[in-house]
């Protein structure tokens, strides 16, 4: 029973990965920026699925909450504000596609080589304990409390900065 389940889940994961990559490709290649953003949402959801597969439930949901619920909403908002509806589709890509593609391919090859040649100190399945929300909270409030605070300050200042920048009449 376990093996069938596992196989099913493995297939599901690869499927999700494939879909994510597909959506990502769509996100960079679709001529309509709005569609691209939606495709990217697909990628994000896929990544959330990957997270779940890595038993990082909390992270997955936080990911969705922040990326899909907030960041992408903002992005789409910005698209709406900056894109002229009646415009015919302007060219969305520059003429760097070929070098970029070749460079990317080279990079990917390189990465694949690295990934497969590096001996990863992988621990045996099941020996890595499950990370509960409680654990995360504990770690955030103890070991990582200082970065946590710094991140908070960064966020606040980023928000204020964004308001100042985007305001119509300067403060």
């Amino acid at each position: 029973m376990i093996s069938e389940m596992q196989t099913g889940i493995q297939i599901g994961i690869y499927l999700v990965m494939a879909l994510s990559v597909f959506a990502a490709l769509a996100a960079v290649n679709l001529p309509n920026i709005f569609h691209a953003a939606l495709a990217f949402i697909g990628t994000l959801l896929g990544i959330a699925g990957i997270f779940i597969s890595l038993r990082a439930d909390f992270l997955a949901l936080a990911h969705i909450l922040i990326y899909v619920g907030a960041v992408m909403t903002l992005v789409i908002f910005a698209i709406m504000l900056t894109q002229r509806l009646s415009d015919p589709n302007v060219r969305q890509h520059n003429n760097l596609s070929a070098p970029a593609f070749l460079g990317g391919l080279a990079f990917l090859t390189l990465m694949a080589k690295l990934i497969y040649t590096t001996p990863w100190p992988v621990k045996a399945a099941g020996t890595v304990p499950h990370v509960s929300v409680m654990d995360l909270g504990q770690a955030l409030m103890t070991t990582y409390v200082f970065p946590f605070e710094v991140i908070s300050v960064v966020l606040i200042s980023a928000l204020l900065g964004a308001i100042v920048i985007a305001k119509k009449d300067p403060l």
Partner: protein, 103 residues
């Protein structure tokens, strides 16, 4: 670990490369921004995967991912604000049309 670590890493690498590609080829700044987010997500995948498989303290990777998400949100906010401000001035969001500093 239901599937091997390397597959996750490859997945991350692919996303990363696609992100880089997006940055390189997109004319629209918002598109570039999306691509950047994609890169950050690729990194997140790697972080979580490592935390799940190799790390001695498994929560570290997740917490780093959380930080990355928070910073990505901040970056997106500021970036989009800049885009809006820019659009208001230049009426365009295409990188090669923003030539204010070029002679």
């Amino acid at each position: 670990m239901i599937i091997p670590l390397e597959h996750y890493l490859i997945f991350g690498a692919v996303l990363f490369t696609i992100g880089i590609y997006g940055i390189l080829v997109r004319r629209n700044i918002i598109g570039i921004l999306i691509s950047i987010e994609m890169i950050l997500n690729a990194v997140n995948v790697n972080l979580v995967a490592f935390s799940r498989s190799t790390s001695a303290s498994p929560e570290t990777g997740q917490i780093f991912a959380i930080f990355v998400i928070a910073l990505a949100a901040a970056a997106a906010v500021v970036g989009l604000a800049l885009v809006l401000a820019l659009f208001r001035v230049r009426k365009t969001v295409l990188t090669d049309e923003i030539t204010l500093l070029k002679w």
